[in-house]
Amino acid sequence: MNKEVIARLRQICGATAVVEDETELLVYECDGLPLFKNRPDVVVFPRNAEQVSQVVCVANEYRIPFLPRGAGTGLSGGALAVTGGIIIELQRMNRILSIDVENRIAIVQPGVVNLHISQAAAPLGLYYAPDPSSQMSCSIGGNVAENSGGPHCLKYGMTTNHILAVEAVTAKGEIIRLGNPAGEPIGMDLLGVIVGSEGTFAIVTEITVRLLPKPQAVKTLLAAYRSVEECSQTVSDVIAAGIVPAALEFVDAKTIEAVEASVYKAGYPRDAVAALLIEVDGFRDGLEETSAAIVEICRRNRAYEVRVAKDDDERARLWLGRKGAFGAMGRLAPDMITMDAVIPRTRLPEVLVAIDRMSERYGLGVANVFHAGDGNLHPLILFDSRYPDQVEKILAMSEEIMKLCVDVGGSLSGEHGIGYEKKDFMDLVFTETDLQSMLRVKQVFNPDGLLNPEKIFPSRRGCTEIGKHNTTSTAEIGKRVESVLLGPEKVQR
């Protein structure tokens, strides 16, 4: 990196806020998806929007690619510096600026940990609803970029339904404010299109979030089944009965096996083929009845065990079985990839069978965790990245799963985002025209394409030209495997 640029960056952010040491840059070569790596040229830690803006201006001046990064827990390579450049790390902008109890909003900086918002609001009787599984470490800025979900978004909506206003720095360095505390889109919903734009439109530097009152009461149940169909039918019946669960999580036999064998032993029935974790919340009056209605539906669908949590401890233990899935699986092999696919919920049984067959065919262990309420499926696939053929299999299996989900009417990503990981599959879902319209919108915000390049759009498409889609060839996979094995490789700018 140009010495002049480093000096300018030091001048803007302070010497201790600029990292260019080779060793230190290593840890920034990937985010929560270590399958793809590339070292940035420099990492900066601005403390306010002004500094972010100045850094962006320098990047524009020298035509250097740049991208934002939160906690780096993303699972689609959103914070991967594909073409090197400057990573703008927002973790030192981590203050909760204010909580307005009466108006039920909070104004926070992007580096604030998702869970910390709820923890700060808890004594005031409020909480922040979107709860991605990484909420103990992920940043709210990252949530805004990815439009993160979580088990409770079934009832309460995703991040986009809870963002009222932002301050952001555009790709050209202008500091803009969008939205308003009433959450009323005025004119065009620019805020709505920025949320979920995966850091390719603007870098958010301040966020006004909606807070909700904590529910009066919560009921959590676990139901165990001997067949996936019965489990799936229960979900349909619960919905048909007009019940709106706060969360509805499905775990399969392999997940239960892994969890019960690990320190997350939650007491899930070990011989269950499938289990449902169901939560309802709201006013105390009527919750018992709703809970009883759910128990009845479970039994009617031949659940052989239904457990209702008696207190907070038991509730926490039931959730441990679901939240521990990730970690429990992680212990079984050196590497694990958490896939993210979304299907119409009614198609789950057939999709699970297909994934099971794929698992056998590829010889890779797979466990499935499914947000049954909204069709978001997470196949957890075990492998060992030290073996190139396994990496190749992972990439091939990933593609097959995505194609399957699209075939049954679903899409590529329910909550992790497209990022770098899934960009070459966008044409499974979108036509050229669709992608061109999206590119057009991107160009309004990011005309030179310097902000977070090589994300979301298929590789063969540049900013200005769009080619025809070809099936991903083995050669493509081979190239990617190379980059994984041989270490960081700088792509031509």
């Binding site: 290593l26 840890v27 929560g32 981590n94 869970l115 470490s137 429990a328 992680g330 212990r331 694990m336």
Partner: protein, 421 residues
């Protein structure tokens, strides 16, 4: 059996890490600095990179490794159960092999701590320094601050060494009332020399609970500080000495009242072979007492607001969390207050508050803030380093706060209910 083979046998521990990042916000240094290389995930990544030949032991590499407090809060947060503490200690060992530790560290950790007599002597010197007025003089001139700020920081943190001696080696105490068994007492070096009354209180509690207490004469410092500093060979030698000093088979338990030491003793099997029998008997005094009749002996009321801070090596290193709280809450008249973020490191971390003073103070400030919010009279915590750190922090903040070991409060409560505190 040589000890080197213990390390070579294992598959690389870093493979347990799935790079999810859930550990980040549990790490005190990440919370302060916000940089990935000062996070557990980042440090593991560097360890792996070093192993794979992608990183070398450079100045920045060493800096980030030694900035770690080794508090192991990340282990508690990790969904995959990564053994971070062990990995960090091994890595530091490799670093020290590559470039030696600081000469003062080597002098003190290799040549003073492992030798009880030398340690006693050094602590008496410290006592003299304080009591004779030399300390006041040095502090009043502010000279140290100007010529060696690092030493000034160390000096400021220096504990006021008690006059009272601890528990003599080779001593033996009888159970009060019906005898239920025999335990050995691990005196620790710092505790026995500088906070002797705490050890005496510990023994008194154990006998009240119905146990004979033996104090083996050949025990030495547990070796934690040496291990954390990367002086692995010294630590291993100390482990071997201690294991030999205790008649493990004759004991119901080996009791330790310092969290840092307890964690080290329980993990001797990671350092040397043949340590399992010994380590399985090691119990922190709180986890031991909580299963005894001590509750019947707590008679004298203590009408104060008392908070408890979890020493990292007790809650993360040993998984002991509820036991000390249960014991304290059992003291008649006590008003137990749960302090916010009690499970977060205080920044003491052995000698970290000397070697990384600035960061240590930043971390301490955040803890003091939370303690102030709790409005307590007494803070109890079961580790000497933490006690020194909190005493310093409270004094700096002008707080009227007593910092004690939980056994001190329990001991005060022993006896007739007619007497009051």
């Amino acid at each position: 059996m040589t000890t080197a083979s213990t390390e070579e046998k294992k598959a690389p521990l870093y493979l347990d890490c799935i790079h999810c990042g859930l550990c980040l916000s549990s790490c005190p240094t990440y919370r302060v600095l916000g940089s990935e290389m000062d996070s557990p995930r980042g440090r593991i990544y560097l360890m792996r990179a070093f192993d794979e030949g992608r990183a070398k032991i450079t100045d920045s590499f060493v800096e980030h490794m030694f900035r770690c407090l080794d508090c192991r809060a990340c282990e508690t947060a990790c969904p995959s159960g990564v053994h971070f503490g062990h990995m960090m200690e091994e890595m530091r060992g490799k670093i020290v092999e590559d470039r030696s530790a600081h000469w003062i560290a080597r002098l003190v950790l290799n040549h003073v701590f492992p030798y009880p007599n030398r340690f006693q002597f050094a602590s008496r010197l410290l006592q003299l320094y304080r009591v004779s007025g030399i300390q006041n003089f040095v502090r009043s001139t502010g000279l140290l601050q100007r010529i060696a700020p690092g030493m000034a920081a160390a000096e400021a943190l220096m504990p006021a060494v008690e006059m009272e001696r601890g528990v003599p080696l080779d001593s033996h105490y009888r159970a009060q009332g019906k005898k239920l068994g025999t335990v050995a007492f691990f005196t620790g070096c710092v505790m026995n020399s500088m906070m002797g009354s705490i050890n005496k209180a510990s023994v008194r509690l154990l006998t009240a609970a119905g146990y004979d207490v033996v104090v083996p004469g050949r025990q030495i410092c547990c070796g934690a500080l040496a291990n954390h500093a990367g002086l692995r060979e010294t630590a291993k030698a100390m482990a071997v000495s201690n294991i030999a000093a205790f008649p493990v088979r004759e004991l119901d338990a080996i009791i330790i009242n310092a969290a840092g030491c307890g964690s080290m003793l329980k993990e001797y099997p990671l350092l040397v072979d043949g340590a399992s029998e010994f380590s399985l008997k090691v119990k922190d005094i709180s986890e031991f007492l909580v299963a005894t009749r001590i509750f019947d002996c707590l008679k004298k009321p203590l009408k104060r607001r008392v908070g408890y801070d979890d020493p990292c090596h007790l809650i993360h290193g040993q998984g002991v969390k509820n036991e000390p709280r249960k014991l304290l809450k059992a003291i008649p008249g006590i008003e137990f207050v749960e302090v916010e973020a009690a499970d977060q490191c205080c920044g003491s971390a052995g000698i970290y508050n000397i070697t990384q003073n600035e960061l240590s103070m930043e971390i301490l400030d955040r803890k003091i803030e939370k303690i102030q919010k709790a409005r307590i009279d007494i803070l109890a915590t079961g580790n000497p380093g933490c006690m020194f750190q909190f005493k310093y922090g409270a004094q700096k903040a002008g707080m009227d706060l007593d910092v004690v070991h939980p056994v001190e409060l329990l001991e005060r409560s022993l006896g007739d209910s007619n007497e009051h505190n």
